[in-house]
């Protein structure tokens, strides 16, 4: 569903992403781990053309979107939930979701309103439908990020630390949600620090270190990898 090849990016002389390739099938989740500054969010920036890659290609559902801008890639089926929630001050929650429906299709589908209601239901944002997105609590803003991504009717969903700063129960809800997304046939890429959550939800895990792919394998293999343990829990492990 998503096939990114050899993505690279350097700022000045600093290589932030070096030759990273990933393939994610429909109905599966690729977990992405790495310390702060490893380039995880930048990798998403390159996939979505928020930052233009220096090299490499991106295909979504078999279609080459390398030359597309951010909006074009969204329309091709690539949606993203930002790490730091980005809500619109002058749009209510339901307007935001309606916008996502409208913008991602170029015109609102007939059932757009019903779809917005459905997503409000799924993400538990129903009670906040008329408040501006910027007025929500942190947890609800994170939910809104996810709701925005869903409302783009994507094929591939990029989740950037949507559970950072959440409690156990909220994290468990996130895991359940990611599993439901997989069942619904989405390809999911999930950047997360909470290792056990990632292990539970992912089919494969990729570890990034200093902009390079260190390892990509099944969760249990990655968890057992001494290199990963060393990087993640500390040099003495």
């Amino acid at each position: 569903m998503l096939d990114a090849r050899n993505l690279s990016k350097a700022f000045g002389g600093l290589r932030v992403i070096e030759d990273v390739s990933v393939t994610v099938e429909p109905g599966s989740c690729l977990g992405i781990m790495g310390a702060n500054g490893a380039g995880k969010s930048t990798f998403f920036d390159l996939l979505t053309d928020v930052t233009r890659a220096d090299g490499g290609s991106v295909r979504v559902a078999g279609r080459d979107v390398t030359g597309f801008d951010t909006a074009g890639r969204v329309r091709a089926g690539l949606a993203r939930a930002f790490q730091v929630p980005r809500a619109f001050a002058s749009l209510s929650v339901s307007d935001t979701l309606y916008l996502a429906q409208h913008a991602s299709h170029g015109i609102a589908p007939k059932d757009a309103r019903a779809r917005v209601e459905e997503i409000l239901e799924i993400t538990g944002l129903g009670p906040h439908r008329t408040s501006p997105g910027t007025a929500l609590r942190l947890l609800d803003r994170k939910r809104l990020e996810l709701a925005k991504a869903l409302a783009s009717d994507p094929k591939v969903i990029l989740l950037d630390e949507v559970s950072g700063g959440l409690t156990d129960q909220e994290t468990a809800e996130m895991v359940a949600l990611v599993k439901r997304l997989k069942e619904a046939g989405f390809a999911v890429l999930w950047i997360e620090h909470i290792a056990h959550a990632l292990q539970e939800a992912s089919d494969r895990i990729m570890m990034l270190a200093l902009g390079r792919k260190l390892i990509e394998d099944r969760p249990e293999v990655v968890a057992a990898d001494p290199q990963v343990r060393a990087l993640y829990l500390g040099a003495a492990a």
Binding site: G12, G13, L14, A35, N36, G37, A38, T134, R137, L138, E161, G164, G165, L166, T167, D168, T171, H193, I194, A195, H196, L210, L233, G234, A235, A236, A237
Partner: protein, 234 residues
């Protein structure tokens, strides 16, 4: 002797609350580590101590005096220095000039330009080059050196290992332990639990804007810490 004392400290990060009643203290000469997952509030706490961001309520005292309402400049002159996350050097200034900015705060003491360049001998040859051209590790040393140039009583270090290769991180921590040996009080934020525990006397583990576990670093059980870190219920 307690140098820094926090009681029921609350603070906001942007427009949402990030700290919910922090009780913690730092003794003179101690190295204290703040650990916890992303978004747990470590950086907000460190910034609150340095006078950045909005501190809302509670108590924050430094050397016995209330500093809750003071701005970062006043705190720098009182002896609180910070090595910010992402280093935040002044890229168009030379390395020497970056260090001198710290000196310009006006606190006299042990640390002078030659002594800092001696401590971090690997950046001495680059003293006249713009700081923006240095590698990440070299930049981290300049950032620490710049804070030292203010001759601080309390050094706050945010994610010193961020984005650095393990060898470089070793070098940075070696320098920090040298400072500890000189009697500098240090509060450090670190993602790498083992490294944080190895470098500190005591630790506070944060979760959801609160302290979830505190104790001496030496005997800390890694399982217990990682539970507090991730908030697992096992």
């Amino acid at each position: 002797m307690t140098l820094l004392q926090m009681q029921k400290l609350t603070a906001r990060h942007g427009d949402f609350q990030a700290l919910f009643g922090i009780d913690a203290h730092v003794g003179k000469g101690e190295t204290v580590a703040l650990i916890g997952a992303n978004g747990a509030g470590k950086t907000t706490l460190l910034r609150a101590i340095a006078g950045l961001g909005t501190r809302e309520a509670g108590q924050l005292t430094f050397a016995g005096q209330d500093i809750l309402a003071q701005d970062p400049g006043a705190l720098a002159r009182r002896g609180i220095a910070m090595v910010p996350e992402g280093r935040r050097l002044f890229p168009s200034l030379t390395v020497a000039e970056n260090l001198m900015i710290g000196g310009d705060v006006g606190r006299r003491g042990h640390w002078t330009l030659p002594r800092v360049l001696e401590l971090f001998s690997e950046i001495a040859p680059m003293a006249q080059r713009p700081a923006g051209l240095l590698s990440g590790g070299q930049q981290q040393m300049v950032a620490i050196g710049r804070a030292l140039m203010t001759n601080p009583e309390l050094l706050l270090v945010d994610e010193a290992s961020l984005g650095l290769a393990p060898v470089i991180v070793d070098r940075v921590y070696e320098a920090l332990s040298g400072l500890k040996a000189r009697g500098t009080t240090i509060v450090l934020v670190e993602q790498d639990i083992r490294r944080a525990l190895a470098a500190s006397d005591r630790f506070y583990c944060m979760l959801g804007g609160q302290v979830s576990l505190a104790g001496a670093s030496d005997g800390a059980c890694i399982e217990q810490v990682s539970q507090a870190y991730f908030g697992e219920n096992q």
